[in-house]
C-alpha cells in the first residue's frame, strides 16, 4: 500500500452528503460519461494487514499502523449509532486473560468484543488457578482446549504474549506485558492525536512522567516515530534515563523546555506498584518539579492538547482543574480505545499470514 493514497482517508470528517442539487440533465456529463458532482477519488489499495497476532508496535510497518487507524474510524462510527453492535465476530470465542490487575483496559476489551458479537471468557489472576501454581502455558493450553479463537493477554512479564503466540494456535493480542509494550494504548493515542490534529507527521509530542516503567511510553514512541512525529521523554533522571535516546526519543529533564513547543503533552502516572526502590524523594517533590499545573500550562502552545492513559492521580502528575479543561482529551481517549480495539480484533480475525516471533 502506498502511504500517499492514505491521505484521502482523513477527509472522512469533511465528507458529508449534500442534498442533491436540482439536476441539470442537459449538463456536459450527459452522453460523455463525465459527471462532476464530486472530485474524483483514486481507488484505495487493498488492506495491508495480514497478521494473526498483535504483539507489539515495534514490529509493525507504517502502513499496518495506518490500516488500524483507518479501520478504527469506521468502528468509531458504529459506536455512535443507536445499535452499536455488528456481527463481525459472531460465533468466535475471546478469552480475556488478565494475569495482572487491570480495570479500564479489560473493560474496554470486553465491550469491544461484545460489540463485535464475540463470546467472551474473562479470566483474572485473583480468581484463577495460577494462584494454585499452574504455569502460564498450562493455563493457556487449557483455555485453548475450550477452542478459544482469540486470547487477549495482560501479564506482568515482558514477552508473555509472544510466548503464547509460539505455543498456541489462537490469535494473541497484547493488552500490556510488563514494562515492554501496550500496543492498543499506543494505537488509541495515535488515533486520538490524528483525529484532533489531522496528522501525526511533524508534531512535537512530549511524554512526561514515569517513562522507565511505562510500556505505554515505549509503544507510543514506536507508533509516533514511525508516523513521523518527534517524541520527547521528560521526567526525573532516575525515571527517564538517557538510554531512551537510542530508541529515537529526545530525552530532557527540564519540564519547561519539554512542554514549550509540544503539540501534545502525554502524562504518565507514577507507577508506585512497579517501583522497587524510591526513584525520587517524594510525590510532593515530583509534583512541584514535573506536575502539570496552571502556570506550566500557560507557557505551552495555546493549542497543545493534554493526554493521559489513566488512571489519573489528581494533584500528582496533573492538577485537578487541568484534567477537566477543554484541552484535555483524556475521556476521548477512552471512547477511541473501544474503536481501536474493535478494529484490531476485526483485522486480526482475517490475518492468516506467517508471523515472525522472535524467541
Amino acid at each position: 500500500m502506498k502511504s500517499s493514497s492514505r491521505k484521502n482517508s482523513h477527509e472522512w470528517e469533511a465528507e458529508r452528503l449534500e442534498p442533491p442539487p436540482v439536476p441539470d440533465l442537459s449538463g456536459p456529463w450527459r452522453g460523455t460519461g463525465r459527471f462532476s458532482f464530486s472530485p474524483p477519488t483514486p481507488p484505495l489499495p487493498a488492506m495491508s494487514w495480514n497478521r494473526k497476532h498483535l504483539l507489539d508496535i515495534e514490529s509493525l510497518t507504517t502502513d499496518e499502523i495506518l490500516t488500524v487507524l483507518d479501520t478504527a474510524r469506521a468502528f468509531k462510527a458504529v459506536g455512535e449509532r443507536a445499535i452499536k453492535k455488528v456481527p463481525a465476530l459472531r460465533g468466535k470465542t475471546v478469552v480475556n486473560l488478565f494475569i495482572e490487575p487491570s480495570t479500564r483496559t479489560r473493560i474496554s476489551f470486553q465491550l469491544s468484543e461484545q460489540r463485535l458479537s464475540a463470546d467472551i471468557i474473562n479470566f483474572t489472576a485473583e480468581a484463577s488457578s495460577l494462584k494454585k501454581g499452574e504455569t502460564l502455558k498450562d493455563t493457556a493450553r487449557n483455555l485453548e482446549a475450550l477452542n478459544a479463537d482469540f486470547i487477549v493477554i495482560r501479564h506482568s512479564a515482558s514477552g508473555a504474549p509472544h510466548f503464547l503466540a509460539r505455543v498456541l494456535n489462537a490469535s494473541i493480542i497484547n493488552a500490556g506485558d510488563g514494562a515492554h509494550e501496550h500496543p492498543t494504548q499506543a494505537l488509541l493515542d495515535t488515533f486520538t492525536i490524528r483525529e484532533k490534529k489531522g496528522r501525526i507527521a511533524g508534531l512535537n509530542i512530549t511524554i512526561l512522567g514515569d517513562v522507565l516503567y511505562s510500556r505505554v511510553a515505549r509503544s507510543d514512541l514506536w507508533a509516533l516515530t514511525k508516523l513521523g512525529a518527534k517524541v520527547t521523554f521528560c521526567g526525573p533522571s532516575t525515571l527517564v534515563p538517557r538510554e531512551f535516546e537510542q530508541m529515537g526519543a529526545r530525552v530532557t529533564h527540564d519540564v519547561e523546555e519539554a512542554i514549550r513547543d509540544a503539540d501534545i503533552i502525554n502524562l504518565l502516572r507514577i507507577q508506585h506498584e512497579r517501583q522497587r526502590k524510591t526513584m525520587f524523594p517524594s510525590l510532593g517533590e515530583y509534583t512541584s518539579l514535573f506536575g502539570l499545573n496552571k502556570d506550566r500550562l500557560a507557557r505551552t502552545k495555546p493549542d497543545a492538547l493534554i493526554m493521559h492513559p489513566g488512571p489519573i492521580n489528581r494533584g500528582v502528575e496533573i492538577d485537578s482543574e487541568i484534567a477537566d479543561c477543554p484541552r484535555s482529551v483524556i475521556l476521548e481517549q477512552v471512547t477511541n480505545g473501544l474503536a481501536v480495539r474493535m478494529a484490531v480484533l476485526f483485522l486480526v480475525n482475517g490475518g492468516k499470514g506467517p508471523q515472525e516471533i522472535s524467541a
Binding site: 456529463w29 474524483p40 456481527p87 476485526f346 482475517g350
Partner: protein
C-alpha cells in the same frame, strides 16, 4: 462490489466492452424511471449505495430521480464489511465509511450496487441496514446482473442482464473514480 472476479489475473485478458458511457447513462435513466413508476410520488424513497461501486451510482440515480419527482432525494452510503459471511476466510476487507444521514424507518430504501453476482453482498447490506432502523420495504437496483446467485436474491431494477462464466470478471469503471464510464467483461485467455 467494484469488480466481481473469479479466477486469477492474467497479463492480457480478453476485454469486451459491455456498456459504454452513453449506454450506462441510458440504463440509469431507465432505472430511475422504473423506480419512479414503482414508487409514485417518491416522498418516502431514499437511495443507499453499497460501498464501493454502488455509491456513485446511487448519487447519479438520486440526481435523476429528483429531476423526475421535482424534489430532492436523500442518498446514503453503506459499507457491508462488518456484516460479511466470509470474514474468517479472507484478509480483513477495507472498511469504507457508512453515511446514512436520515432515518430509514418506514421508508422505501433502494439499495444500489454496480454488479449483482452471488447475492452475498446484498444479504450483508440488508443485514447492515437493519441496524439503522426498520425500512418499510427494501428494493434492489443494479447496473449489471451477471447471474450465478448463491442466495435467493433478485434485483428489482437491472441496467443490463449479462450472462457470464464464473471464470470471467465484470469491471465497472465510473467517472467518479477518475476513469471513463465503462462496463467491461474480462475473459482470461486459455
Amino acid at each position: 462490489m467494484g469488480c466481481c472476479r473469479a479466477g486469477r489475473d492474467e497479463l492480457m485478458p480478453e476485454r469486451t466492452v459491455i456498456l459504454n458511457a452513453p449506454a450506462i447513462q441510458r440504463a440509469l435513466t431507465r432505472i430511475a424511471h422504473e423506480i419512479a413508476e414503482r414508487n409514485e410520488a417518491g416522498n418516502e424513497v431514499v437511495l443507499v449505495g453499497i460501498q464501493r461501486g454502488g455509491v456513485a451510482l446511487a448519487q447519479r440515480l438520486g440526481h435523476l430521480l429528483s429531476g423526475i419527482w421535482g424534489h430532492s432525494v436523500q442518498v446514503g452510503k453503506l459499507d457491508v464489511s462488518m456484516h460479511r459471511d466470509d470474514l474468517d476466510q479472507r484478509v480483513a476487507p477495507e472498511v469504507q465509511p457508512t453515511v446514512i444521514p436520515f432515518d430509514v424507518t418506514d421508508k422505501t430504501v433502494v439499495l444500489v450496487d454496480d454488479v449483482l453476482y452471488s447475492g452475498r453482498t446484498t444479504r450483508a447490506a440488508m443485514d447492515a441496514l437493519n441496524d439503522f432502523g426498520r425500512p418499510k420495504r427494501i428494493q434492489l437496483a443494479v447496473l449489471v446482473d451477471r447471474g450465478h446467485r448463491e442466495l435467493p436474491v433478485k434485483a428489482d431494477f437491472v441496467g443490463k442482464n449479462l450472462p457470464t462464466a464464473q471464470s470471467e470478471t465484470v469491471r465497472v469503471h465510473l467517472a467518479e473514480t477518475g476513469e471513463a464510464d465503462e462496463v467491461v467483461l474480462e475473459k482470461e485467455l486459455p
